[in-house]
Symmetry: C2
Subunit: 195 residues, 2 copies
């Protein structure tokens, strides 16, 4: 599996008030695009991938490409799926997630607990990291990235402790979903060697 | 300049009826994402880039990174900009575009005329093309790609005649905006050599 963990610092755990202003709902638009870039290609789902949105270090909404159904590429429909997941969070108890629809789950996990549930090498996406093209192509990696905000000191410390490497996707600071697209493309092409 | 030309086969020239169903408006959601991936990075505009949406081979909506203002990354706000451009199309006469807001213009051009207005090497994004990583990194390229539909026979014939090369971005068929992100990253890194 390829796992993408995105820190949603501003997304309200109670979800958006409206689907008409996704940027105003703690940058829910950005979270939707990360789900789309993480799981969808043209007319297909990446069945070897999952996206984990860590909401204010309190809850994690998980989209699993193996089982998710009816995921569409536009922001608004994905926002409704995230809203529905957050609406179901009272059903998440202890380590047990609630799963309001197949392949969409919500758990009472922050970043540390979410990372503990994942195997495979952990790659911290960071502008000061190793060039992606110089990094060995891993099996079953987890990419961790932040939304429009920088990593907090606590997140940076946790990742410094747990990450196997820090990787840079290029000289430009990209949006989170753009970073995910570049990471997938790197893996898809086996490090830009197989097209 | 980096130019991105995206064929919007289904987008109605009269624009969307509503901003609440962008996929239903001829995949306006997809067009918005192409504008975003073509012009925005994290907290910045790509001032060396422009995006041209060729609407049913009849009109072209152009977003110019050198002069566009207040472009935001979410689909809905970008959809409103595209709607406003299409609303202004009666002001486009002959070769003269209408420019309803700085950096956003609409002209009575189809694909052939849009390509004729652009200099620089023309790269046709196609799954059967040369691997991007094997292609020399061009100066001031134009990338041409299609929306959720394949190129029509007429478009394919035009591109076979005019394109300098056909390039593949990888073994997966990506969304149009994902393809643009990969293309930008390839250029940003000078062919995956400079991070």
């Amino acid at each position: 599996m390829r796992d993408v963990v995105c820190l949603a610092h501003d997304l309200p755990p109670d979800g958006p008030d409206s689907l008409d202003d996704l940027p105003g709902a703690g940058r829910l638009d950005l979270c939707c695009r990360v789900v789309t870039s993480g799981l969808l290609t043209s007319h297909a789902v990446r069945e070897d991938a999952a996206v984990h949105l860590v909401v204010q270090d309190e809850f994690t909404v998980r989209f699993d490409g193996r089982s998710v159904r009816h995921l569409r590429p536009d922001e608004r429909s994905t926002a409704a799926r995230i809203r529905d997941a957050l609406d179901a969070k009272s059903g998440a108890i202890g380590h047990q997630e609630a799963e309001p629809s197949p392949g969409v789950a919500v758990g009472r996990f922050g970043l540390a607990a979410t990372l503990s549930r994942l195997d495979g090498p952990l790659l911290h996406c960071h502008e000061a990291g190793t060039p992606l093209a110089e990094e060995p192509v891993p099996e079953d990696p987890t990419f961790v990235l932040s939304d429009h905000r920088d990593f907090t000191d606590a997140e940076a410390a946790l990742l410094a402790d747990r990450a196997d490497s820090r990787v840079s996707v290029g000289p430009e600071r990209l949006h989170a979903d753009q970073t995910v697209t570049v990471a997938h493309n790197w893996l898809d092409t086996d490090g830009y060697r197989s097209y």
